[in-house]
Amino acid sequence: MPEPVIVAQNLVKKYKDFAAVDGVCFEVAPGESFGLLGPNGAGKSTTMRMVGAVSTRTSGDLRILGLDPNRHGPEIRSRLGVVPQADNLDTELRVRENLLVYGRYFGLPRAQVARRADELLAFAQLEDKAKAKVDMLSGGMKRRLTIARALINDPSILLLDEPTTGLDPQARHILWDRLFRLKEQGTTLLLTTHYMDEAEQLCDRLVVIDKGVIMAEGAPAQLIRTYSSREVLEVRFGSDLNADVAAQIAGMGDRIEVLPDRILIYSENGESELVRIVEAGLTPITSLVRRSSLEDVFLRLTGRTLIE
């Protein structure tokens, strides 16, 4: 196995008494696409900042590209690409200038940066916006520009903090397509997300993280197999009735979760569970059979939904 590019062992970050990250361990192999999945405030961004060598760990060990970020911050940062959660593009500069200037922060020669900027504008599908003001771009375009900017130094690892949060579905799909291309080209990706579908699409492997602690680790499909059933039946009886009904159908499926607005019945065959419910004389307002997702894994592990 090739040497991992990121190794975190018992990583801890405390702010006064509060441990934002509380003993996290994971490894990322070169070329791998690795995800940190968890709700807001789980410690994902804090972990990202430590990996990005802009935050000092309280304890534990961390190696990025074989180097300790406490001692080699600038060296590490010169080989990372960072896409922060909130766009921090330079609004006083135009689109192409953003790339040029950012490349110069790495001390790269002008001609090289200019060549790379044009390639990246093409990659981000922003060629015709090269001279536009940043404020005139749509949310999706800004994100793409931020990603292009993060690639200006040809990074060994690309860090993406909630890359598609706040984007409309179409913009998300365009962005996923771009990220997928990077993955195909062998760029190592480390991304945080609280979107299941994003994690399933982009991550080879991920950790589920909650309250600063890792709850589970594995490939998305493997996690779903381990922590959930093949299918899920979702039934709604109306907010007032859900709890009563849940008592009546207890024992159906492998497991039942009662949420405020619906009941989830985990089973290998959702349709047959629905038949049993109807045979029991109950009529749900709506019913839906779907495949298990990482959302279900998270619910199983923490007893909470990801987006609250």
Partner: protein
């Protein structure tokens, strides 16, 4: 030797390794580019402000005042008395604008430094780059103003040429302290305090009349403030009253620069590389 070893050596051989990448130039370049594409008008307006003061106070009020006696006992026309003070003030204002409001905006709203510090730049690169830009602007204003002074016959000595580096020193001092102070500011209201403090300093630092008009205790207060040192230094040079005592003013600014840089670098480190 592996790749990693060599990098380890590079880091340990540079004591400022984590703070400074030797690339403040790129931060300046960014400022220049931004000025060119968006806010050049603000820069131009700053050039005229001291000239308007000079024309109204120096020539207008000067007609009533006539001549004035400097600290060293020399009789000079009123305009020649206030011109060097206005030059020092111009340097201060240019430097302060760039290092306070501009820096505050970039830090709190544009998240510009967050972006810069996730590259291989260190906090000292950012501080030096931003301050150098403020300096460059100060230099531009000062050169223009000196030319106007020359045209109006207000430079009384060839020592006036040294007013240019003196003004840069003043701008450097204000820029580095300005940025240090700004790094502690969190709201616009706090930023207004800076303006509130600068105005009386501008008016009372022996800018428009000699220090001797004040009672002794007030004189001490004024002499503790940075602008007075700037005004006296520049005035000494443009009026040709050059004495070794001027070096005290130089020293005052050197200390200011050093303190400002240390505090700024530390603050940027705490704020963005915690």
């Amino acid at each position: 030797m592996t790749d990693t070893d060599r990098r380890t050596d590079a880091a340990t051989s540079r004591p400022l390794g984590a703070l400074y990448a030797g690339n403040a130039r790129s931060v300046m370049l960014r400022g220049w580019q931004a000025t060119r594409s968006t806010n050049w008008l603000v820069v131009v307006s700053g050039f005229f402000e001291p000239i308007f003061y000079l024309l109204s106070m120096g020539l207008g009020l000067g007609a009533l005042v006539g001549t004035i006696t400097t600290e060293s006992g020399q009789e000079v026309p009123y305009a020649a008395f206030i011109a060097p003070a206005l030059l020092a003030v111009a340097a201060m204002n240019g430097a302060i604008y760039d290092s306070t409001w501009n820096v505050f905006f970039k830090m709190q709203f544009a998240k510009l430094y967050e972006g810069m510090l996730s590259t291989s730049l260190g906090p000292l690169d950012v501080a030096l780059g931003e301050i150098s830009l403020a300096l460059l602007r100060g230099a531009l204003y000062a050169t223009g103003f000196l030319v106007v002074m020359q045209a109006l016959g207000l430079n009384l000595s060839w020592w006036a040429l040294l007013a240019l580096p003196a003004v840069l020193l003043i701008a450097f001092g204000f820029a580095s302290v300005g940025m240090a102070v700004t790094s502690f500011m969190k709201t616009f209201q706090q930023m207004d305090w800076i303006t509130f403090l600068l105005l009386p300093m501008f008016l009372f630092s022996a800018t428009f009349y000699p220090l001797s008009v004040y009672p002794q205790p007030i004189q001490y207060v004024i002499q503790a403030l940075p602008l007075w040192h700037g005004v006296e230094l520049v005035r000494g040079l443009t009026t040709g009253q050059v004495e070794p005592a001027l070096l005290w003013h130089v020293l005052y600014y050197l200390v200011m620069i050093l303190l400002g840089l240390i505090v700024t670098t530390r603050r940027l480190r705490t704020l963005f590389l915690d």
